[in-house]
C-alpha cells in the first residue's frame, strides 16, 4: 500500500507538472514533449487503478499516434517560439474584455473540478475499485452489446471527420 501511495504521488506529479509545462513555456515542440510525459504519468495512474488495458491504450493512441502527428505538424509548420513582444495586442482576443471572460471561465471550471473531486472522495481509495476494467474480454463484450449505439455513432463521427479532412486537403487551388 505504501508503494502504491508513493507511485501515485510520483505519477500524479509527472502528470500535473507535464500539463503545466505544456502551457507554461513557449516552445511548441517542448509543449508536445511535455504533454507526452503528462500522458505517460496518466497511464501510470490508470495502472494503479487496475486498468492496465486503458493505460496501454492511452499510450498507443495519444502518445503513440495523435501526438506524433501534433509533433509532425509543429515541425512542418516550423512554429517558432511565441514571444510576448510579438503578440498582436490589437487582436480582439487580447482586449481586456475577453481576458476577463476567460478569467471567469477559469474560476467556474476550477469550481466544477473541486465539486467533482469532493464527490469522488467517498467512493474509495486507490486499489479498492473492482478490477473489472482490466479484463479486455469483458470490455469488448460490453462495448459491442450495451454500448453498441454509442460505439457506432462515434465511428461514423470519426469517419465523417476523416472524409472531411481528405476533401479539404485534396481541394485544388486556393
Amino acid at each position: 500500500m505504501a508503494f502504491d501511495l508513493i507511485a501515485f504521488y510520483v505519477f500524479a506529479a509527472i502528470t500535473v507538472l507535464g500539463a503545466l509545462a505544456v502551457v507554461g513555456q513557449r516552445n511548441p515542440v517542448y509543449s508536445v514533449v511535455a504533454i507526452v510525459g503528462s500522458f505517460c504519468g496518466l497511464s501510470g495512474l490508470y495502472v494503479l487503478l487496475e486498468a492496465p488495458f486503458v493505460a496501454v491504450v492511452q499510450i498507443i493512441i495519444y502518445a503513440g499516434a495523435i501526438l506524433v502527428l501534433f509533433l509532425f505538424t509543429v515541425m512542418l509548420l516550423n512554429a517558432t517560439r511565441e514571444d510576448g513582444a510579438e503578440w498582436d495586442r490589437s487582436h480582439p482576443y487580447y482586449r481586456p474584455g475577453p481576458t476577463r471572460i476567460g478569467g471567469v471561465l477559469a474560476v467556474v471550471l476550477f469550481g466544477q473540478l473541486l465539486w467533482a473531486i469532493s464527490r469522488i472522495a467517498d467512493t474509495g481509495g486507490i486499489g479498492e475499485q473492482q478490477p473489472a476494467a482490466s479484463s479486455v474480454r469483458l470490455l469488448g463484450r460490453v462495448l459491442f452489446t450495451d454500448y453498441m449505439f454509442a460505439f457506432e455513432v462515434t465511428s461514423i463521427l470519426i469517419i465523417a471527420a476523416m472524409v472531411g479532412a481528405v476533401v479539404l486537403a485534396g481541394r485544388k487551388g486556393n
Binding site: Y30, V33, F53, V56, I59, G64, A65, V68, L71, M75
Partner: protein, 366 residues
C-alpha cells in the same frame, strides 16, 4: 561471485534481489546482443559480398565490437551550435530507454533450472503482463519520439527530413503491425505472451481444417494455424517489423545517398552509439516477439521445456539472420513505393486476413 549470484535464487531468498538480478541480466544481455549483432552484421555482409570482414581484432575479429565501442567512447561529443541542447541530449535517451523497456513483457524461455545450476526453476521473463502484447506495441510507438526529436533538435535539413520520414513510416506500418498482432490475439484468445506461447504447445492433428486428419507432425505454432492465414499474418508482422525498426529495404530515415545519415547526421560518440544500439536492440525485440507470437516461442518438437530457451535462441538467431539477409539482398525501395506498400497493400491484406481468422475462430473454435 557466481556463488553469490546463484544463492539469490535459493529458497531463503529475497524475491526482489532475485528480481533485480533477472532485470540486470536481461538488461546486460540486450546490450551484449547489440554488440554481437554488430559483429554478425559485418561478418554476414562480408560473407555475402565475398570479403573477409573483420579479422584483425581478436580471433576471427570477434573482439571488433569491443574495439568499436572503445572508439566511440573516446570520440568527441559534438553538438551543432544551433541545436536545441535539451532535446538533442534527450532524443538518444528516449530511443534507448524505450527499446529496453519494450523487452520487459517478452519471455524468452519456459521455466528452467539451467541444467540444474539453480535449485528452483526461474521463469525467463521480467514481467508477465495481461496486456503484454499491447505493452510492446505501445512502448515501440513511443520510440518514434527519439528519432523525430533527434531530427528536429539537430537543426539540420538532413536530420529533419530523416526524422519526418521515419515518423511517417513508423505510423504507416504500425497499422499492419497491429492487425497482425490482433490476428494472434484472436487465435490464442489472450494478450499475455506466456498464454499465447503455451497455446502453441503440441501438434496440429489436422491440415488446414479439422476435416483432414494427419499424424502429429505439424507443431501447433501460430504460423501454421489456419493455413495460410497464420503464415500471412507472420509475413505481415515481419515486414512491418522491418519497417518499424528502420532496417533495409525500408531504411529511409538514414538513406545515405539522399540524407547523409538521416536523423543521426549530427550525432557523434556515445550519443550516436545509443541510436545504433537502439536499432539493434529493436531488431532483437521484434524478432523475439515474432518468435513468441508465431513460431511457438520456446516450444519445439521433442525438446523438453527446461531446454526450451535454447530453441528460443536458435529461432531468434534464425530471424536475426533473416534481417541481415534482407539487408544485403534487397535494394532500398522508393519512398512512394514504401507508402503504397504500407497503406494500399499490407493494410488491406492484414484487415482481410484478420476477418478471415475471426471467421475461422467463430466457425471452428480453433
Amino acid at each position: 561471485m557466481l556463488d553469490f549470484f546463484f544463492s539469490l535464487f535459493r529458497p531463503p531468498y529475497n524475491w526482489w534481489v532475485a528480481y533485480a538480478a533477472i532485470v540486470g541480466v536481461i538488461f546486460m544481455a540486450l546490450q551484449i546482443s547489440a554488440a554481437v549483432m554488430v559483429y554478425f552484421e559485418r561478418k554476414v555482409s562480408a560473407w555475402m559480398q565475398q570479403r573477409y570482414g573483420p579479422t584483425l581484432v581478436g580471433p576471427s575479429g570477434t573482439l571488433q565490437p569491443i574495439a568499436d565501442v572503445v572508439k566511440l567512447i573516446f570520440k568527441e561529443e559534438l553538438r551543432p551550435k544551433q541545436a536545441d541542447a535539451l532535446l538533442f541530449s534527450l532524443a538518444p535517451i528516449i530511443s534507448v530507454a524505450t527499446c529496453l523497456i519494450a523487452f520487459a513483457p517478452v519471455p524468452f524461455g519456459g521455466s528452467t533450472t539451467f541444467f540444474g545450476w539453480l535449485d528452483e526453476p526461474v521463469a525467463l521473463q521480467i514481467a508477465n503482463l495481461d496486456v503484454g502484447v499491447l505493452v510492446v506495441f505501445a512502448v515501440a510507438s513511443v520510440g518514434v519520439y527519439g528519432i523525430v526529436l533527434a531530427g528536429w533538435a539537430s537543426n539540420s535539413k538532413y536530420a529533419l527530413l530523416g526524422g519526418l520520414r521515419s515518423s511517417a513510416q513508423m505510423i504507416s506500418y504500425e497499422l499492419a503491425y497491429g492487425m497482425a498482432l490482433a490476428t494472434v490475439v484472436l487465435l490464442a484468445g489472450s494478450m499475455s505472451f506466456r498464454e499465447i506461447v503455451d497455446a502453441q504447445a503440441g501438434y496440429f492433428g489436422y491440415l488446414v481444417l479439422p476435416s483432414i486428419n494427419i499424424p502429429d507432425v505439424i507443431p501447433r505454432w501460430n504460423v501454421f494455424a489456419m493455413f495460410p492465414f497464420g503464415l500471412i499474418a507472420f509475413l505481415l508482422f515481419f515486414t512491418a517489423g522491418v519497417a518499424e525498426t528502420n532496417r533495409a529495404p525500408f531504411d529511409f530515415p538514414e538513406a545515405e545517398q539522399e540524407l547523409v545519415a538521416g536523423y543521426h547526421t549530427e550525432y557523434s560518440s556515445m550519443r550516436f552509439a545509443m541510436f545504433f544500439m537502439a536499432e539493434y536492440i529493436n531488431m532483437v525485440t521484434v524478432s523475439a516477439v515474432a518468435v513468441n507470437l508465431f513460431l511457438g516461442g520456446w516450444h519445439f518438437p521433442l525438446v523438453p521445456e527446461g531446454y526450451g530457451w535454447i530453441m528460443f535462441l536458435v529461432k531468434l538467431a534464425a530471424l536475426l539472420f533473416f534481417y541481415l539477409w534482407l539487408r544485403w539482398t534487397l535494394p532500398r525501395v522508393r519512398y512512394d513505393q514504401l507508402m503504397t506498400l504500407g497503406w494500399k497493400i499490407l493494410l488491406p491484406i492484414a484487415t482481410l486476413n484478420l476477418l478471415a481468422v475471426a471467421a475461422g475462430v467463430i466457425a471452428f473454435g480453433l
